[in-house]
Structure formats: C-alpha cells, structure tokens
C-alpha cells in the first residue's frame, strides 16, 4: 500500500501519531515513552520522535520517573502549561465572569465582577483589563493566550458572527465584539450564545457528562434553551435554535406583548413572575430571588406563583420531550438552578407527560457558562494544533479526572 500513496503516508501518519500521543497524554496525565507506544499502537521509534518534537515545542515536559517496575526506571512525561493558554468569558447583563486555563484544561485563575453598566466598548475594555489581570495571576503573559471564547445572551448569527437580540447589554449590538477584542488581546475570539455554553459546561463537567442528547433550560432574566443532539450543539438556520421563550404556553399569542416577547417568556420570565406575584396580591419585591425566600418562609402567594411557574416550565419540558426525546433535561439560570425548582418541575411534568425524562438542577450553577467557554476555547486550541480534516471524530475533551490529578484552582 505504501507504493500507492507516496507522500500521503508520511504526512498522514505523522499527523495521526502526533494526535494519538496528545490524546493519550490528555487522558492519562503522565506516561513513559514505552507505555505510550503500547497504548497508541505506534512503534517505539515513532512515539519517541513525537515526544522529542513535543518537548522542543514546549508541549510536554519530563516530570519524574516510573517506580516499582523491574529494570530501569523510565522518564514520565506530561502536558506542559507553557504551550499556551485559553480564556473563557461569560458576559452577562449584571455580571462578568472570566477564567484562564492551560492546554491540559487546568483552571489557573478565575474572577467575577459586575458588568460595566455603560455597556458597549466600556464592557469590552473591561474584558481586556480582566484578561490581563487574570494572566498575571496565572503567572502567564496575555500574549500566551491563544484561544478566546465569549458567551453572551442573544443570538449569534452562524454566518456573520454578529450578536443580535441581546437586550441586556447596552449598545453591544452596534459593536463588532470579536474584531475589537481580537485587536485588544491579539488572539482569535469566538462568540457563542451563553446558554449553549452552559449546556457544554454541564456536558463537560456537570450533570450531563457523557450524554449526547440533552437539553439545558436556562431561567433567569429571560428563558432560553441549549440543545445537543447526537453529541452536537444545535444552532438552527439563523443561530436562533433554543428561543423557547416563544413556546405557545402561558399566554395568548394574539396579544401583542405576548407575541413580541414570546408567550412563555411573557408568562414565566423574571418580569412575568414578578408581575403575577404582584397581581396575586404579593408585596412588591425587586428580584425573583426574594419571592423564593418568601416561599421558603411560608408565604402562600409566593408558593402558588412559584408552583404555577414550575407548571409552565414543565409544559415546556413536555414539549421538548415530545419533539426531541432528550435523555436528560438540565435546569439552570439564576431561577432554574434553585434546588426546589427542579423538584417542582419534575412533579408537574408527570402530570402532562407519561414519559419519565429526568429533570436535574445544574451542578455548575452560575459557573456553567464560563466552564463551557473554557471547553470550547480548549477544543479550538486542540483543533488548531492537531486537527485533520479526514479523521472521523472530533478531538474528545479530557475527562475531569485529569483535572483532579493535575491540580486545579
């Protein structure tokens, strides 16, 4: 066969062996040259050449020797932090969270601050300043950040990358966020919908690990859904997949406010919950959080309003189940992640659906978005270094086990 494919062989196998070795290092943490050859199936010569190349590039470093075996001890290698870092950002209307991780997915620094209320380019400058500060804390330089992913509320057009429908951040629709941040930080920047990232965060490190058909319902200021089908994120034609605020539940779509905002969001979004609480005679409050507190204190009106909200969300979940048949539904967002809420939704779901699809609260809570941003940023970095068009599957993300061994924040 080697005579049929002259140059195709050497380049392809070199790429394949590099990628194989990298995958093993990701999953095993530390390993010797000989064991690498055994696990990958490539010859000792090939794997040794790859380790030499990786060492030259700063991708791996020696970290001790094997022990307890017969014969000479062997040098162990692991992925080095020096080869590059990634930045994940979760940009919300109220809070901004950012984190830096290395190529082996070790989180090195993380912080949250209130989003600059002036919006627009002030927010972008805030992100750049936060990135620089985190880089210092992580003992690295901003120039070593090789991949950046920003999560925002709203719809990201898959064709142009522009953010549309992000009402919570003033003037952000006017700015070319990716271009400006690339200019400020010097690395490629990708923008992604924040609920999509929260879903990815939960499939990587949260309660949806290893599940390829899963829906994440985010209930906060607004209502959104992230969806993975057959292991891939669903975006839809215009990037508007997941806008379940427009589900025909809870309000009459012939009413103009309900139609514009979406029936379900009008009825069960944060302002809808507040409106129903006050209309039912509740004492005015600032945030839905307070209604939950009153519910726990025994306030009957609060109990009823939250119960009705759970019923509306359960109907939405029943729609998702009938349409997509996910294995699991995760509830997140500042309202959705409240522990009692998932329990109430599960009870109400059994009233409108005979299928028993589990509904779980998000484990990562308000960190889900930034963890998802890191997951995507790391995937992009790996693809840049090792991606090959012909290989049948995408690079798998390292399992959380490796993080625990390698140390984390």
């Amino acid at each position: 066969m080697s005579t049929i494919y002259p140059t195709a062989i050497s380049t392809t196998t070199r790429q394949l062996s590099r990628r194989s070795v990298f995958e093993v290092l990701l999953h095993k943490g530390r390993i010797s040259r000989a064991d690498l050859a055994k696990v990958t199936g490539f010859s000792k010569q090939t794997t040794s050449d790859v380790i030499d190349e990786f060492e030259r590039q700063g991708l791996v470093r020696p970290v001790g020797r094997t022990s307890g075996n017969i014969g000479r001890t062997a040098v162990l290698y692991e992925l080095s932090s020096d080869s590059g870092h990634v930045l994940g950002v979760d940009l919300g209307g109220t809070k901004l969270t950012a984190a830096i991780a290395d190529i082996a997915s070790r989180v090195l620094a993380e912080a949250t601050e209130p989003t600059d209320p002036r919006g627009g380019k002030f927010v972008l400058e805030q992100i750049a300043k936060l990135a620089n500060r985190l880089a210092r804390e992580a003992n690295t330089h901003p120039s070593r950040i090789r991949s950046i992913v920003i999560g925002t509320p709203g719809v990201v057009s898959p064709k142009t990358g522009a953010i549309e429908l992000a009402p919570n951040i003033a003037d952000i629709g006017q700015v070319d966020v990716a271009a400006v941040l690339t200019g400020m930080l010097g690395s490629p920047v990708a923008i992604e919908n924040d609920v999509n990232l929260a879903l990815l965060g939960e499939t990587w490190h949260g309660c949806a690990q290893g599940i390829s058909n899963v829906a994440f319902i985010a209930l906060g200021t607004g209502i959104g859904l992230g969806l993975a089908v057959n292991g891939k994120l669903v975006r839809g034609e215009h990037g508007a997949a997941g806008e379940i605020g427009y589900f025909p539940i809870g309000a009459d779509p012939q009413r103009v406010e309900a139609r514009n905002q979406g029936c379900l969001e009008y009825a069960a979004g944060a302002s809808g919950i507040l409106r129903r609480y006050i209309e039912s005679g509740g004492e005015p409050v600032e945030h839905v959080r307070a209604i939950f507190e009153r519910m726990r204190g025994g306030d009957h009106i609060a109990i009823e309003v939250i119960g009705d909200t759970a019923r509306l969300i359960a109907m939405a979940a029943a729609m998702v189940v009938a349409l997509i048949d996910p294995k699991l539904i995760v509830l997140g967002g500042s309202i959705g992640a409240q522990p009692e809420f998932a329990v109430r939704v599960t009870e109400e779901l059994a009233r409108v659906s005979s299928r028993v699809t589990p509904v779980l609260p998000s484990i990562l809570g308000n960190r889900a978005g930034v963890v998802g941003a890191l997951a995507v940023a790391i995937s992009k970095l790996h693809e840049d270094l090792f991606g090959i068009a012909e290989l049948p599957s995408a690079m798998p993300l390292p399992s959380p086990r490796v993080l625990a061994e390698g140390g984390s924040r």
């Binding site: 392809t12 669903v234 975006r235 034609e237 997941g242 998702v320 659906s353 049948p392």
Partner: protein, 405 residues
C-alpha cells in the same frame, strides 16, 4: 517506511475515501474524475487508483467502454446497477408496500398488498414472500438482496432495535421482528419509524431536498414527525423524537386519555375532526374528506373545525420553530398535505409568530414512506460493502434522487 499498526488507519482512510467517491458518483452521475476530486477533496492520483480498485471489485465501470485504458482527469465512471440489490418496505396497519432497487437506487419492481391481518410473524412471512415476488418480476436472484429497510408505524429504539408503540399491527412489538427478518435476509436488516423514513424521502427528493434543518409533519389518523438537523435524521435518546401526539397542545392536556393517546393527537387527528364536526351539527356519517369537501361550499361547521385544527397545528409549528430554527417544515399525511390545510396553517402562523416560517406541502404523498425505506436500504447496501460514511448513529441516504420506472 511502513510503520506497524498504521495499516488500520490507512484502511479506514481508504474505505472512507472510496465511500466519498461513491457518494459523489451517485449525486453527480457521469461525473468525471476532476469533479470527483473537487467534491471529495482528494487528489487525482489517489482518486485514480481507488477508482480502478472500485472497478475491479465490480461497483463501478467506465462510462465509455471503448476508451483506451489510460485513466485521466476526464475519465467518467458510473455505478454498476447489478453490483447489488436492496429492499425497501413500508409496513402499515392496512397496507404493506415494497420495492426492489439496484446498486444505483433504481427501482426494479414495486408492489403493494393489504397487510396480513393475523399480524405477528405472518407479517414477516408476507415481507419475505413480497421479496420473492419482486425478485422474480425483476429477474433478479432473491439471494442477491444484501440490505433491507422496513419502516414501521411505531418507535424503534436506536440502541437495541426493539420496537414499541405499534397498536395497528397485532403482536408486532413482541414477536422479535428484527431477528425473524435477519433469519430470512441476513444481518443487514434495519427497522425505522415510518415517519423518519418519510422525512428521509422528503430530504432526498421531496419538498425538503437540499435543506439541512427540516421537519416533516405527518398529520392524518395519527400524527408523527420526522426531523433533520445538520443534514442528519434525529431519533432522540430512545428513538422517540418526533412523537408529537404527546405535545401538550389542545383543550385537554392532563386527562388519563390525554397522557395515553397524546393531547395533540386528540386535538388534530382525523377522529377529533369528525367528532368536532358532528358536535357542531355536521352529518354523523361524515368523513374527513367530506368535511374538507364542504369547505368550498361555505359550510360554517366545516370552516370552524378546519380553522381550529389549523390553529392547533400552528401552535405545534411555533413550538418546533422556536426550539429548532428550521429552514423548512413540510406538511404531509392525509390531512397535512391538503392545500386548504397548508394555506390555513401558513395564515395562522403569520398571526402568532413574528418571524417568517417556510411551510410547504409534501409532494411525495403516500409514497414517501416507501421511497424513504429504499433510500435507507440503499445506504445500508453501500455501507455493507464499502464502510459507513456517516456516524453510526444515523442511517441516512445521501442527497441523490432515486430513479423510479
């Protein structure tokens, strides 16, 4: 320099490359090697060598057999029809339709019969007998059928292959259909939900041709949906994606009946239409066809019933479009494909959904299930000989059209 164990990777690469080439030749019949290179991204020297290999195996042949044996960029190949055969079956509660197709997807013979009312394994025997009749009719040896796809009116678990929710065919879920069929035809037999196969047909050569994000809504006595996302049919975690009978839409979403049969089916199925029509004073012997017929006569009851049905369907479409942002939604089935219903759903959508939604009527009608079954069987045939092209999870036909006599 040959490195040990790299052969496995190269074999995978070669299989994948051949499969890509075959897919191109199906989509662009009579394509020359330059087009194949452009479509697959493979270089000419590799394409040339692989094409010669495919020809030696009998899957393709030179389009111009008189040409000299020099293979270059202008050389054209075609798929060899007689290289293999497949069987597509659309198994319904009342009728079973089957078609035999060759390696290029060309229909060789087709038949429809009333489904054996005894159900259970009698239905399997009926399928085997149909295969024999079709083979005789096409002058093909029945043992050359190397791939079978059977569409059933129920859910198929993608992992285990077990079927459920098939009330229309007695005992089908319990008789081990898959293994009985495999005993008769060999291991390359697959089952799928009939609406999923209709979606495949619409995507391959129907109203959804060329779209990557699409849905097919079958609305008739029962209701069901097939879904395509990123070009692949979606089955869900247990094969129950598209069981839209259970959408919580309609007057009754919580009763025992609603949970058992499905609120949406109780609202828009043909039984529901007839009941509502009768409740509004319509004739007790009316059928759905009669109700639609009375529309043009200006009958108030007919108008009201059809309008409320369209409104409920628009709710389902709203839910579908909100969650998936599809490019097109195809309406089919005995109720869905009627132009009067399609118009009313489109009008209702413009009242309740602020973004435009592309809704089209099915053009394949009652043949969608059979066409989809043959598409699936054809992919299974190519996978059998040349390795799977797409992920193991999806059995999808390519974008080529099947040729029917």
């Amino acid at each position: 320099m040959i490195l040990e164990r790299q052969d496995k990777y190269l074999r995978q690469f070669e299989q994948r490359a051949k499969r890509l080439m075959l897919h191109t030749m199906l989509t662009l019949p009579m394509a020359n090697l330059t087009s194949v290179c452009e479509s697959t991204g493979l270089p000419l020297n590799i394409v040339g060598v692989l094409a010669a290999d495919l020809a030696r195996s009998g899957w393709i042949h030179l389009a111009d057999s008189s040409a000299n044996t020099e293979v270059d960029h202008a050389t054209r190949y075609c798929l060899t029809g007689s290289a293999g055969y497949c069987l597509g079956v659309d198994l319904g509660g009342t009728k079973v339709a089957a078609a035999l197709a060759d390696f290029t997807g060309c229909f060789m013979a087709e038949m429809t019969e009333p489904t054996d009312a005894r159900g259970e394994r009698h239905v399997v025997d009926q399928i085997v007998s149909l295969a024999k009749k079709l083979s005789r009719s096409a002058h093909v040896d029945a043992s050359k059928i190397q791939s079978v796809m059977v569409g059933i009116p129920g859910a198929v678990d993608p992992q285990s292959g077990r079927i459920s929710l098939v009330p229309n065919i007695k005992g089908l879920a319990d008789c081990g259909v898959l293994s009985l069929l495999q005993n008769a035809f060999g291991s390359n037999v697959r089952l799928d939900n009939d609406v999923n196969l209709a979606m495949l047909a619409e995507k391959t050569q129907g109203s959804a041709r060329g779209y990557n994000h699409a849905a097919f809504l079958a609305l008739g006595t029962g209701v069901g949906m097939g879904l395509t996302v990123d070009g692949k049919v979606v089955r869900g975690a247990t094969g129950a994606a598209g069981e839209i009978s259970y959408l919580p839409i309609g007057r009754d979403t919580t009763s025992f009946e609603a949970l058992r049969t499905g609120a949406f089916e109780l609202e828009v199925g043909s039984l529901a239409i007839i009941k509502r029509f009768q409740a509004q004073g319509g004739a007790t012997t009316a059928t759905v066809r009669d109700v639609f017929g009375l529309l043009s006569a200006g009958d108030k009851a007919a108008h009201s019933v059809i309008e409320s049905t369209a409104a409920a369907i628009a709710s389902a479409v709203t839910a579908l479009q909100s969650i998936l942002d599809l490019e097109i939604i195809v309406l089919g089935g005995s109720i869905g494909s009627r132009p009067e219903m399609v118009e009313r759903v489109q009008r209702a959508m413009s009242r309740v959904f602020s973004r435009p939604v592309h809704i089209a009527a099915s053009q394949l009608g009652s043949r969608a299930g059979l066409i989809g079954a043959v598409c699936g069987a054809l992919t299974g045939l190519h996978d059998h000989y040349l390795g799977a092209l797409s992920d193991a999870n999806s059995v999808d036909g390519g974008s080529h059209a099947l040729r029917q006599p």
